[in-house]
């Protein structure tokens, strides 16, 4: 197990290099220097800013030297300053990360506790009424544009019924609430964003759980369990379920890039000050240092998400680590 973890950790080095090379290439995609485009798009950018940029990216040097310098600064978390307000990019990102993490973790939590029972229940009686309703829900969930769902929910719960706030994460009088009032206020603001960001995963994971469970129920050890007269409950939950749920751990890890990408959309719609909205603002303002930092951050978060999922999978299913050992 330990050697498996160590090997996986070593495996992220080439991945990290690749991620930084691709991120670095993106800014060199544009015809001409990134600084000239910056100037053309935004005449307000002064010569001084441009020179500072040239220095930041070392644009007078050969590409590989620029890359190595950039990588060196990246390792020290020196990501430069934002074009918008001249603040350190690191600070801007750090203050925006918590709310995005909270929403995404809440979404993962709800996806997990709702989708798994749905999938299991569908798998126990495939093609019967309940399974059919779930299937319809799954197809709608897959086809639903998240921003459209957000608009519909905002209209229904925010405007027509006026039950829930539709913008930001706290009310104007937030500071006057006691601790429970604050938590309540925050939760009310988060209900719609969390629903919107969970819907795709909900559909996907319940579908996956269903097929995983159907597959597990067809295994020979299930026949054995039934043949030796175990109660159905124990066959389903102790034998089939425990095996069927294992791959879901990996799938949850794989859904991280989708959640992060989705956060750009729902954070923009609900005006939530997280890294998704920060990214959107950065793109609108052509704030290159911030854009680069966010792209690298998104990729690195995804990579660690996958790594954690893989290690967790090896932990719950020791066969994985063992297989890789050979």
């Amino acid at each position: 197990m330990l050697s498996y973890i160590i090997r996986r950790l070593l495996g992220i080095i080439p991945l990290l290099l690749g991620i930084t090379i691709i991120s670095f290439s993106i800014i060199h995609l544009a015809p001409g220097k990134p600084t000239t485009i910056q100037q053309a798009l935004n005449p307000k950018v002064s010569l001084e800013v441009r020179e500072r940029l040239d220095k930041l990216y070392g644009l007078d040097k050969p590409l590989y030297v620029q890359y190595i310098n950039w990588l060196g600064r990246l390792v020290k978390l020196d990501l430069g300053r934002s074009f918008g307000d001249d603040r350190l990019v690191v600070d801007k990102i750090l203050e925006r990360i918590p709310i995005t993490l909270v929403i995404n973790l809440l979404s993962l939590f709800f996806i997990f506790i709702i989708a798994v029972p749905l999938g299991v229940k569908s798998a126990l009686k495939p093609n019967q009424a309940f399974d059919k309703y779930v299937t319809i829900f799954v197809f709608l969930g897959f086809a639903m544009p998240t921003f459209w769902l957000a608009l519909l929910l905002m209209n229904l719960f925010g405007i027509q019924l006026a039950w829930l706030p539709i913008s930001g994460i706290k009310s104007l009088d937030f500071e006057y609430f006691n601790i429970w009032g604050k938590i309540g206020d925050l939760s009310r603001h988060l209900i719609l964003p969390v629903i919107v960001s969970s819907i795709g995963g909900l559909a996907g994971i319940s579908r996956y759980m269903r097929s995983s469970m159907i597959e597990a129920l067809a295994q020979p050890y299930i026949y054995t369990a039934r043949a030796k007269g175990l109660p159905e409950k124990s066959v389903v939950y102790k034998h089939a379920f425990r095996n069927a749920i294992l791959p879901i751990v990996t799938i949850l890890g794989l859904s991280i890039p989708g959640l992060l990408g989705g956060s750009v959309i729902f954070e923009s719609i609900f005006a939530i000050p997280g890294i998704g909205r920060l990214f959107y603002e950065a793109v609108m303002m052509r704030d290159y240092p911030l854009i680069m930092a966010e792209v690298v951050l998104g990729a690195v978060l995804t990579m660690f998400g996958n790594l954690i999922a893989d290690i967790a999978y090896a932990y719950v299913d020791p066969r994985i680590g063992y297989k890789n050992e050979k």
Binding site: I22, I27, F142, A143, W148, V264, I269, V283, M284, T302
Partner: protein
């Protein structure tokens, strides 16, 4: 039952495709025509699906939007398919170092949240229809590459391929005549899901104002106005969103039906 899925999906997509092709003939108004006398008109006999805040006819914009949204879906997937087929086939057929390099590249690309990558590129290049197609294509080929590689790895061991190798057929011939055609089934399913994904991506980008730029209509950018007119003009929100939902549903139904058909 499954053929019913396939059939329903095909009908839906055929319907929207015909609308897209015949757009100039069936569109009641010019989609960019501004009419100051009919701003935010609800659905009525004159404007079947209402008008937006500039008085443009929503139905006409949706009909022309179908052209843009569908063609972006098809072309982006065409690009992704081409890259995925070539890289997947090379990796699966040659194995070894080539395989290792290509698959590492796939792993790296999969680390990037697609939407982040697309937004970053859009920020640098201008968001035009052409750029959107290419960018979506360049960022969504990885699944196809993995799939093609896996199919080819298992096909390579089969007798008919071994026989081709034994009689000295060229690599190119084996790959293009035997391996790729036999791997096409699952690839087709994933490509159809890919079209749905590309249309969703485009609509999201356009909704954020970073995709297809007005006055050109796409289903996503008609919805830009939806947020500011929420609770005032429901027709702007409902109809374009439904069009996206039903189209995506159509592609997903086709994919599901094909999957069952192919076994």
């Amino acid at each position: 039952m499954r053929n019913k899925l396939l059939f329903t999906g095909l009908i839906i997509i055929l319907f929207f495709s015909i609308i897209a092709i015949l757009a100039p003939l069936i569109s009641p108004y010019n989609p960019s025509e501004i009419d100051a006398d009919s701003l935010l008109v609800p659905p009525s006999p004159r404007h079947l699906l209402g008008t937006d805040s500039l008085g443009r006819d929503i139905l006409s914009r949706m009909i022309y939007g179908a052209r843009i949204s569908l063609s972006i879906g098809f072309i982006a997937v065409g690009i992704a398919l081409a890259i995925g087929l070539v890289l997947g086939a090379l990796a699966g057929f040659y194995g070894g170092l080539i395989d290792a390099l290509i698959m590492r590249f796939v792993d790296i690309m999969l680390c990037f949240p697609t939407f982040f990558l697309i937004l970053a590129v859009v920020a640098i290049l201008e968001p035009s229809i052409f750029n959107i197609m290419v960018i979506i294509g360049l960022t969504s080929w990885m699944g196809t590459a993995r799939l093609v590689r896996a199919e080819i790895l298992s096909l390579k061991e089969r007798e008919f391929i071994q026989a081709e190798i034994a009689i000295g057929a060229s690599d190119f011939r084996i790959i293009t005549r035997h391996l790729i055609p036999n791997a096409l089934g699952p690839v087709l399913v994933s490509a159809i899901l890919g079209i749905a994904g590309a249309i969703l991506l485009e609509s999201g980008l356009s909704f954020l104002g970073l995709g297809v730029q007005p006055p050109t209509a796409s289903w996503g950018n008609i919805l830009i106005e939806a947020k500011s007119t929420l609770g005032v003009a429901w027709w702007i929100t409902i109809f374009p969103g439904l069009a996206i939902l039903i189209t995506i549903l159509g592609f997903n139904l086709i994919a599901e039906g094909l999957k069952e058909k192919l076994g």
